[in-house]
């Protein structure tokens, strides 16, 4: 009897401990954004998906990039720290950048530091951003070759201080050239918060934290608007985002920002249970199963890649011709400038929400996506001509 009482006391004590820790947890979590500061009102530690910023002192910030590498940011004239390898050190504010990804470049624009860009991996005719086109015409921004075959000699001539890339295989070579590299993609897809806050990850490289905060606040406001507008909608459309290629089926997983956005905008994402990297491969059976009762399909393909109509998509992939969106629903393809418009993330989020719930966005004009017609106007014209 006495031993039972002792046991109950012990268990009770430990449960109290759990409760206290949990309560402390809730409290600390809500305060973590403002409590620890380094002079400016800014968190000492900020986690952004798989990225992180740790402000050690006013003269030293450590960041963790998408590949889990730690980089040390120090002022331009500060002495080289002794406790880290030279290839880990980035002198800030960075003045010359080479960037691989469209989203990285859009983020530079969001921070207002697009003039630091000196090299890209897309030729001039593939750009829809006027500043970049102009920069390339003036010779300030150089096309370094396709991402899979970079001209490193030309890259070195551009004297970048930082390369933003999704390809870690270039790191050893850039280390030899004493150029710092940041991997800006992550093994898991970026969630909605990470997508919105990525600007805050790049901000310390350019001393543009205020601009990053303003950008985030803008996106956050648009998200709150989406939540408010779609709160009372009666119908929750079923959405799928991906495509079937010759040998592979790729979709956005449920943990990706688009999956989260669809859920937040009172809609059902058909790949909610799929978890992993962005543009993840699934089986064709799963794609078709999810497509049976889907209402809306966002394809990765642009018009130039064949997404001109539902009939054209069905012709490209006869397997998907019977999925719900192609039969009775709606199909949307990104416009060519969509992938380069990450600095307009608020508009993109709003547009996706307007596509999901046109009833709460009357007279909305699409800017980043196009709804595919049932048939191509030319093909339809030819078909009617044949009938005649």
């Amino acid at each position: 009897m006495q031993s039972n009482t002792t046991m109950y006391r012990l268990a009770g004590g430990l449960l109290t401990l759990i409760t206290l820790i949990t309560l402390c947890g809730c409290n600390s979590d809500s305060q973590s954004g403002t409590e620890k500061t380094t002079g400016e009102e800014r968190p000492a530690f900020l986690q952004i998906g798989e990225f992180a910023i740790n402000r050690i002192s006013p003269d030293r910030t450590e960041v963790r990039d998408g590949a889990g590498r730690t980089l040390v940011l120090i002022p331009r004239k500060a002495p080289m720290p002794a406790d880290c390898a030279p290839n880990q050190v980035v002198r800030v504010p960075v003045q010359r950048v080479v960037a691989y990804g469209d989203f990285d470049i859009a983020t530079l624009r969001a921070l207002g530091v697009q003039e630091t860009l000196v090299g890209v991996t897309r030729s001039k005719e593939h750009w829809y951003v006027p500043e970049i086109k102009r920069g390339m015409e003036a010779g300030r921004i150089v096309y370094l070759g396709d991402a899979s075959s970079i001209d490193f000699e030309r890259l070195n001539q551009q004297q970048p201080e930082l390369v933003l890339t999704w390809d870690p295989s270039i790191i050893p070579l850039l280390d030899d050239l004493h150029i710092a590299t940041v991997v800006t993609t992550t093994p898991q897809a970026m969630c909605l918060t990470a997508r919105m806050r990525f600007v805050q990850f790049l901000a310390p490289f350019f001393h543009k934290e205020k601009e990053a905060d303003a950008f985030f606040a803008r996106i956050d406001a648009s998200l709150r608007d989406i939540r408010a507008r779609t709160a009372g909608v009666a119908h929750q459309p079923k959405v799928m985002w991906g495509d079937v290629y010759e040998k592979r089926v790729m979709v956005e997983p449920g943990n990706a920002w688009v999956g989260e956005l669809v859920g937040l905008a009172q809609s059902d994402y058909q790949f909610e249970d799929v978890f992993g990297t962005s543009c993840i491969e699934i089986t064709v059976e799963r794609f078709l199963y999810s497509g049976q009762d889907a209402d809306i399909f966002f394809t990765y393909r642009t018009g130039s890649m064949g997404a001109t109509s539902k009939a054209a998509l069905a012709k490209l992939n006869p397997l998907i011709k019977d999925i719900g969106p192609l039969q009775r629903g709606r199909v949307y393809a990104p416009l060519p400038h969509y992938s380069q418009s990450g600095d307009k993330l608020d508009e993109i989020l709003t547009e996706i929400s307007a596509i999901l719930h046109p009833e709460v966005y009357p007279d909305y004009q699409l800017h980043y996506f196009v709804e595919l017609p049932d048939t191509d106007p030319i093909a339809a014209k030819e078909a009617s001509h044949d009938r005649i």
Binding site: S3, N4, T6, M7, L10, A11, L14, L15, L17, I18, I21, T22, C24, G25, C26, S28, D29, S32, P43, F45, Q47, G49, E50, A52, N54, R64, A67, G68, R69, T70, A85, S148, D167, P168, S169, I170, I171, P172, L173, D176, T186, P187, Q188, K247, R248, N255, F275, T283
Partner: protein, 269 residues
């Protein structure tokens, strides 16, 4: 005072405490299961930045999702202390009692307690790993490139990436995918050189460091053309020796225990 200490010692080694701790550990791990789900990004850095740095950053800033881990550490510490007190009390009793059978019989009777001590050493080894491991995160090597080990003067080069691709017929979607990535490394310390094959479950050891393959490219013969590379986690882990010693101790106890049951007790039926 001695009596108080004795009471405290007995309470510390109480089986009731063991049961309560095991129940709480179960509940805590259930909590942990829900916290870990889709939040691996929060815990992955624990593998390379060390426990203290992780606690001060990711841990403390996300207590709602990491609280279970702090509690797990507390409960495991209590369980270790409880196991030590309980085991030591029993061992002292066994050593004092002069039963029949001599030293051999005593060793067999100590078998479960040796396993308990082994478990404590294993847990201490893991704690040591998380506290003191030196990690060079995501060092990338492309064919022909090398990296230098800090302080040791050694160099590691990637000679070739020689993966095995799936060539079977049964799993069509695996066709031409890498099923066993293998990288041939050249390890040189200035005076001598040697080649080693690194793969996912076969780390390479050199100059006190262990090399672990964490990612690689390309992952298939077809698809998007990716340049060849391997990403390594390079670790100097002082805990390895400790938990290998713990495992050896546990195995010894297990051997005595099995011997006691199969050989000794059968023979003395």
């Amino acid at each position: 005072m001695t009596r108080l200490l004795s009471i405290f010692w007995h309470k510390l080694g109480s089986i009731n405490l063991t049961v309560a701790l095991c129940l709480l550990l179960t509940a805590d791990l259930v909590w942990g299961y829900f916290c870990l789900n889709r939040r691996t990004a929060l815990f992955t850095p624990l593998n390379d930045m060390g426990l203290i740095a992780w606690m001060q950053t990711y841990g403390i800033n996300n207590l709602l999702f990491t609280g279970w881990f702090f509690l797990l550490l507390t409960l495991l510490t209590l369980l270790s202390v409880n196991t030590f007190a309980c085991t030591t009390s029993r061992v002292v009793q066994l050593l004092r009692a002069k039963g029949p059978g001599g030293g051999r019989r005593l060793a067999l009777k100590l078998a479960p307690h040796i396993m308990h001590y082994g478990l404590i050493v294993i847990l201490a080894g893991y704690l040591c790993s998380y506290l003191f491991t030196e990690v060079l995160t995501s060092s990338t090597l492309a064919p022909g490139t090398h990296l230098s080990l800090p302080g040791a003067g050694g160099q590691v080069s990637l000679l070739a990436f020689e993966p095995e691709y799936y060539q079977g017929q049964r799993l069509a979607f695996w066709k031409d995918e890498v099923i066993s990535p293998k990288a041939r490394l050249l390890l040189s310390d200035g005076a001598s050189q040697r080649e080693e094959m690194l793969s996912c479950n076969r780390p390479v050891r050199f100059q006190g460091y262990s090399f672990h393959l964490i990612d690689f490219a390309p992952k298939s013969l077809g698809g998007m053309k990716m340049k060849t590379r391997i990403d390594l986690n390079i670790r100097k882990d002082p805990g390895v020796g400790l938990y290998l010693a713990g495992m050896a101790l546990f195995s010894l106890g297990l051997f005595f225990y099995v011997y006691d049951w199969i050989v000794y007790r059968e023979a003395h039926k």
